[in-house]
Every structure is written in structure tokens, then in C-alpha cells.
């Protein structure tokens, strides 16, 4: 019970937070929201199911292009509905990609996901008639009229923040619930020992495919929010850079905890913004930190303070040898 009160309080705080922030910082907060969702959905695949995808930007980009095309060709579809449609597009693409990739394991899986994302990148780049190629597709979300008359202006950072926050919270709740269902448990089995799971009666291919599709769908939601906020989506949303950034973000925070990747995203974005002001060589610092992190704290920031992590070990607070998947 007490935990639910804390969560409710945190949510209220998140809604009230923008009143203390200037527009610039608010924009950063919005970025953290959708990239955080992107990283959490990546972790459904990696941390929970043991599948390392290097092409996870595929459905992120699909979500972005989907809403852009919806508003371009179908007119003023309310944002929530457009996002749902974008999510469905992401689900469809995720299903197809997953169908081919999920039967492979380890590095083979990672490489094929990479191949698909590069292929989609090439399509986005070359199919100028639809995607406007390198120039990018303009995304024009219509203002949202809520029941009761209140209008949320998409150009207003505050309004967009609240809308994005709502959508992200709902998505996170869906993911959180998913983890705690038998299917979510099956995902853990896939990671720990998919062969044994098969001998217990689990259809490994089917299970992995569903998880892959679900994660891809959430990534598409994140991509839809990204495109709606930036008001532009370009092939860059699908490329290697985006696909690897999400890996960085998830790992920084820690793949062993549900919200770990969210924390990692916040840390990554804030760090990157600060570094970019300090030195022009900030990508090197990021890369260096990533390597150091894998070497010395591969369980991420959460691992640093969580069970079994260096901080606890230093303070001799824990005794269990195993790493929990929670």
C-alpha cells in the first residue's frame, strides 16, 4: 500500500514539475520522456528476454514516419489516436522483422536486426516520394481538444509535456504489467534457458516473437512522440546512430531494473548536453564512459546502488551472490 502512495505522489510531482522549469529545460524533459520509453522498451527485449537488437531504431522510426504520414494524408487526426495507429504500424513491422530474426540467437540475431534497420534506413532515404528522403518529413500534430473544452496546443511545450507524460506513463504501465504476467515470465525463461523452457512446453519461437512485437510497438509509440515533438522525422531516426544510442542509454541506467533504462536516458541526455557545452570531443567521452561502465559497472547506475552492486559491496550491505532480474 505504501508503495502505491509513493508512486501516486511521484506521478503528481511529475505533472507539477514543469512549473519550476524554463522552456529549454522543459524541452529536455520531454526528450527524456520519449527516449526513456524507447530505452525501457529496448530493455524488454535485452534485459528481460536476452535478445540484443542493434536495429531497434527500426520501429522507432516507423512510429515517427507513421504519424507524419497520417497527419499529412489523413488530416487532423487527434494525437492520441494517431499515436495508436503509429503503434499498430510499429507492431506490424515488428512482427515481420521479428518473424525472421527471432529464430536466430546471439550475434546472428543482433546482425540480422541490424540488417533490417539499415534496409529500412535505405528505404526512408531513397523513397523520396513518400518520405521526402534526406530532407525529412514534416510532422504537424493538430491541437488537441479535450472533453470539457480545454485545448492543448502542440506548439506549447507545457501542453506537450503533459500529453507526452500521460502517454508515456500509460505505456510504462502496460510494460510493467506485461512483465508480471505469465508471458512476461516466459520472456525471462527465454533469457535464462530457452532450451529448458521448450522442454517444459513453451513455444520458444512464438514467445520470443510476441515479446519482440510488443517491445517494437512501444518503441513505435516513443518514435511517434519524438516526431510529434520535433515536428520533423528524417531517415536519421532509423539509422545506426539512433539504434546504438538507445543501447547506450539502457545500459547506462542498468538493464536489471524496470526503470533502469529510464534513469540511464536521463543521465545520458543530461550528460551529453553538459558535455557538449564543455568540449567538442564529447562523443569520445561518452564512448569512453561506456567502455568503463561495461568493465566496472555493467549493471549500470541502478547496479551501482542496488543489490550486489559496488556501493553495497563496499558497504558490505548484501550477501546474495545472484543477480535478480527484477
Amino acid at each position: 500500500m505504501r508503495r502505491n502512495v509513493l508512486i501516486a505522489a511521484a506521478i503528481v510531482l511529475l505533472f507539477l514539475m514543469p512549473f519550476g522549469l524554463d522552456t529549454l529545460r522543459l524541452r529536455v524533459a520531454i526528450e527524456i520522456l520519449y527516449f526513456g520509453l524507447f530505452a525501457v522498451s529496448f530493455n524488454l527485449l535485452f534485459g528481460y528476454s536476452g535478445m540484443l537488437s542493434f536495429g531497434f531504431a527500426s520501429t522507432f522510426g516507423v512510429g515517427g514516419y507513421a504519424v507524419g504520414l497520417i497527419w499529412k494524408h489523413l488530416g487532423a487526426v487527434p494525437l492520441p489516436l494517431a499515436v495508436v495507429m503509429g503503434a499498430l504500424a510499429g507492431a506490424a513491422v515488428g512482427l515481420v522483422i521479428g518473424f525472421f530474426c527471432v529464430r536466430l540467437r546471439g550475434t546472428y540475431f543482433s546482425l540480422l536486426t541490424l540488417a533490417f534497420s539499415q534496409f529500412l534506413f535505405a528505404v526512408a532515404l531513397k523513397w523520396r516520394d513518400v518520405t521526402r528522403g534526406d530532407d525529412g518529413l514534416t510532422v504537424t500534430p493538430p491541437d488537441l481538444t479535450l472533453p470539457g473544452g480545454l485545448v492543448l496546443h502542440m506548439g506549447n511545450a507545457l501542453h506537450f509535456y503533459w500529453l507526452a507524460l500521460t502517454i508515456v506513463l500509460i505505456s510504462l504501465w502496460l510494460a510493467w504489467r506485461f512483465i508480471r504476467t505469465p508471458l512476461g515470465n516466459a520472456a525471462l525463461l527465454m533469457r535464462e534457458n530457452d532450451e529448458r523452457a521448450a522442454f517444459l512446453g513453451y513455444n520458444v519461437f512464438g514467445t520470443k516473437l510476441i515479446v519482440f512485437t510488443f517491445a517494437s510497438t512501444l518503441a513505435a509509440v516513443a518514435g511517434a512522440l519524438f516526431a510529434s515533438f520535433q515536428r520533423l522525422v528524417s531517415p536519421g531516426a532509423l539509422d545506426l546512430q539512433t539504434g546504438t544510442e538507445v543501447v547506450f542509454m539502457a545500459l547506462f541506467g542498468g538493464t536489471g531494473a524496470f526503470l533502469g533504462p529510464f534513469l540511464g536516458t536521463a543521465a545520458y541526455i543530461l550528460l551529453q548536453n553538459w558535455l557538449a557545452k564543455t568540449t567538442e570531443h564529447w562523443p569520445f567521452v561518452i564512448g569512453f564512459l561506456f567502455v568503463v561502465m561495461i568493465l566496472f559497472m555493467h549493471t549500470g547506475l541502478v547496479g551501482l546502488f542496488g543489490r550486489g552492486g559496488p556501493v553495497q559491496r563496499l558497504l558490505r550491505l548484501n550477501r546474495t551472490p545472484a543477480e535478480e532480474p527484477r
Binding site: G50, T107, L112, A115, Q118, F119, T244
Partner: protein
């Protein structure tokens, strides 16, 4: 449409790039076959070789010296990476090894940008090999023929070592079945270290000889990265013969792809890699499972 000489020239181009690709991919495929790690940083070794060539030439004027300097420096770097870093995180599993090599690639690519700047650097063709000779109806650069000849020479040397020497047999066995080799009392970690370092050195040599041809630019690592993955997948992890054939195939594919379907040239190798992964994951000559 196109004359025969154009086709022939394109074919030659393809072979040149293919051989370069092979030099880079050979180390990559052996390391994967032996250690189960796809070393993403391998492409950075190649890039480093090119940049070291630039600096050596700029400092001493001798291209041939860089053929010595680069592989030694990069080989040592490779050894440090394998012994100091990869081995340390081996217990976390293959995913983290892959992630580490990826982080290293990223870091090294940015380090190159930092040290040498974010623009293309020209490495002059050595005087001995400059100019062109009449071949196949047009003028063909001597240097590219050199690339072809030199890589073929290295290829031959590799084949000899692997097929005829004791070290070679050990390496081939370790690639095929590391556990068995270790059970026979052979120092597998040392073999792994050796293969990793030599692979890195080979990538650096490829970088050196590629430099006068492709120039040293900050994106060259990423450019060869994907192609080398495709080679390793298509050829089969652990198979040098597979890597050779796949490299030549990719080289020709790119060469003619640019000629016939310029808009889609970049997708071909991905389609090929995807097709292989879906239909025959072990590649042409790799081991199943």
C-alpha cells in the same frame, strides 16, 4: 550499353576492394570462430592503420615504413584489448563482450576524430607505384594492382602458415573446437591472444595499403564495418576460404551494383546478409550450430 573494357575494369575494381575487405575480415572471422566474439572494434583497427600511415608518411616520408609501424602498433593495441579488457568481462557473457567491442569502436573512432581532425587526409601514393599502365583498353592505376598483388601475397602467406605449420594447425583446431584443443594441453588463451593481435595487425596493414587509394577519413571505419560483417556472415564464421570468397563476392557486388543500380547499391550487402542469415545462418563454410 557498356563496353567490355568497362565491365572488365569494374570487375578489377571489385577484386581490389574485395581483397582489401578480405584482409580486414580474415582476423574478424578467425576471432569469431575461436572466441565467439564478433569484434566490432576490428574496423577501428583498420582505420587506425590508415591514419598511422598518414602520420608516418608525414613524419618520415616513407610509405614502406608505415607498413611496419602500423601493424606493430595496432597489433600491440589488439593484444592489450584482448588481454586487458575482453578477458576481464568474459564471464558476463557474449552480449557484453559484443557491447564492449562496440564501445571500443565508438571510442576509437572518436579518438581518431580528435587526434587527426574530422576531415579527410590525403596519403600520397608512393612514387614507385604511382601512375597508370594500359590495361584492358584503358589506363589502370598501378597502385591498385599493387593492392591486389600485395593482398594476394599476404593471403598466400596466411594459407601457408595455417596449412603447413604447427602454429597454423593449432589455430585451425582452436577455431574448430577450442575445448578439445585446451584439453590437449595447448595454451588456448595464448592462442586467442595471438590470433586477436595478428588479426588486428592484418586489419592495420589493410588500412595502410588502402590509405593512398581510399584516403584516410573518419568514416572509413564505419564504411568497412558493415561490409566486413556481411563477409563474415556469408563466408561462415571461422572460415578463411569463406571470407575470401565472400569478400570477392561483395567487392564485385558493390562494383557492379554502383554501375547498374546506383540508387540501391548500399542495400545489396544487407539483403545478402539477411538472406544468408535467414536461409543458411552458418554461411558458405561455417560450422552449423
Amino acid at each position: 550499353m557498356f563496353g567490355l573494357s568497362v565491365y572488365a575494369t569494374q570487375a578489377l575494381h571489385g577484386m581490389v576492394y574485395g581483397m582489401l575487405l578480405f584482409l580486414v575480415s580474415s582476423g574478424l572471422t578467425l576471432v569469431f570462430g575461436m572466441m565467439g566474439i564478433l569484434n566490432i572494434a576490428h574496423a577501428a583497427f583498420y582505420m587506425l592503420g590508415a591514419y598511422l600511415a598518414y602520420t608516418t608518411v608525414a613524419a618520415t616520408g616513407s610509405f614502406w615504413l608505415s607498413l611496419l609501424v602500423a601493424p606493430i602498433v595496432v597489433g600491440l593495441l589488439g593484444a592489450a584489448v584482448e588481454r586487458g579488457l575482453l578477458r576481464r568481462i568474459h564471464r558476463y557473457g557474449h552480449a557484453y563482450e559484443l557491447l564492449l567491442t562496440f564501445g571500443l569502436f565508438y571510442m576509437m573512432a572518436e579518438a581518431v576524430r580528435w587526434i587527426w581532425g574530422n576531415y579527410t587526409l590525403e596519403v600520397p601514393t608512393p612514387a614507385l607505384l604511382s601512375g597508370s599502365i594500359p590495361l584492358l583498353g584503358s589506363q589502370y592505376p598501378v597502385y591498385r594492382l599493387f593492392i591486389l598483388a600485395f593482398s594476394a601475397l599476404i593471403c598466400l602467406a596466411m594459407a601457408t602458415v595455417l596449412l603447413r605449420t604447427r602454429v597454423g594447425i593449432i589455430i585451425r583446431s582452436a577455431v574448430a573446437d577450442g575445448e578439445m584443443v585446451s584439453a590437449l594441453g595447448i595454451n588456448t588463451p595464448l592462442v586467442a591472444l595471438g590470433v586477436f593481435s595478428v588479426g588486428a595487425a592484418l586489419a592495420a596493414i589493410a588500412g595502410v595499403i588502402a590509405a593512398p587509394f581510399l584516403q584516410a577519413d573518419p568514416a572509413m571505419g564505419a564504411a568497412i564495418l558493415v561490409d566486413s560483417f556481411v563477409v563474415v556472415v556469408v563466408g561462415g564464421f571461422g572460415s578463411l576460404l569463406g571470407a575470401l570468397l565472400a569478400s570477392l563476392m561483395i567487392g564485385e557486388l558493390q562494383s557492379f551494383g554502383i554501375l547498374w543500380f546506383p540508387a540501391f547499391a548500399m542495400v545489396f550487402q544487407f539483403l545478402l546478409m539477411a538472406a544468408v542469415l535467414v536461409l543458411r545462418p552458418q554461411g558458405l563454410f561455417g560450422e552449423k550450430g
